[in-house]
Amino acid sequence: MNLDHELNRVLARTSAPDGFADRVVARLGDANAPRQRHWPAASTLRRLAAAVTLTLALGGLTAHQIVEHRRTEGERARRELMTALHIASAKMRVAQRAVAHD
């Protein structure tokens, strides 16, 4: 079996269910509703205050940019961590299987 060929065949796009677009448009009224604003949680306010303080100290980046940069860095670190643990776990299981069959 040629796996590449089979994947191309099996994963060919499938049609969205009938009436899909109509159902989305029917929900547009909800999508238009203004988001309710809630007063930020105290922890959020403390983080924003820290970001503003940092902005004054750095003098260049906006608070939003700092928070956004941290989020990007954090997400990247998370992905790298999971990759590392997946690799390590897979190697450990090779050893486990070898021991089990010994």
Binding site: G74, A77, E80, T83, I87, A88, K91, Q96, V99, D102
Partner: protein, 191 residues
């Protein structure tokens, strides 16, 4: 007998109370000759600060990420170098010695898997007294060489069980409870 001794050793190591302050040694995993020849490289360098940052972004509803969050608690670093090659025989397995020669007397080899055709895996743990303070995995396949160094009190059994068996996703705790109720009996733990 060998299997029993290895299992016993793993169980003893896993059950030892691990002091949170236990320090470990970071191993230099860089192999420039291998990197130059590799067609693909995975390079992960996460020191303590980056691990703490990553931990803040781990999901508490995803089973694997929940387990990962528990695992990295107290760790000082996780380092991975994985090199993949187009053809067999493109890298020199002897380069692994550059890593092994860094291991001091506190390091102990706990598993050795040898295969002529598939994958050789050596697993070492660093110890201080009775505590595990580090882990080193060296894996050599015909077209891939991988080293993993974890610094800190690593739970080996948890690490091996992180992805569940054979790549099947963990069943979330909520689903497990629902399944248990439906079955009316205790579900086996297959992780």
């Amino acid at each position: 007998m060998t299997r029993f001794l290895i299992s016993l050793m793993l169980s003893i190591i896993a059950s030892i109370a691990i002091p949170a302050s236990a320090q470990g040694t970071r191993i230099n995993l860089d192999l420039p000759d291998m990197a130059a020849k590799a067609s693909e490289t995975v390079d992960v360098t996460l020191d303590g600060a980056m691990l703490r940052l990553a931990g803040k972004f781990l999901s508490s509803t995803d089973a694997d990420e929940r387990a990962a969050k528990e695992m990295i608690n107290g760790l000082k670093g996780i380092y991975v170098r994985s090199y993949e090659f187009e053809h067999e025989g493109e890298y020199d397995k002897a380069q692994a010695e550059r890593i092994r020669t860094q291991l001091g007397p506190s390091w102990k080899k706990i598993v050795k898997v040898s295969s002529k055709t598939k994958e050789d895996v050596d697993i070492y743990v660093d110890t201080q007294g009775d505590a595990v303070t580090g882990l080193l995995i060296i894996s050599a396949e015909p077209k891939e060489f991988t080293v993993v160094n974890i610094v800190g009190p690593v739970d080996i059994e948890k690490l091996a069980g992180l992805e569940g068996q054979f790549g099947i996703p963990h069943i979330s705790r909520d689903l497990k409870e629902a399944h248990k109720d439906k079955q009316g009996k205790k579900e086996d733990h297959h992780e």
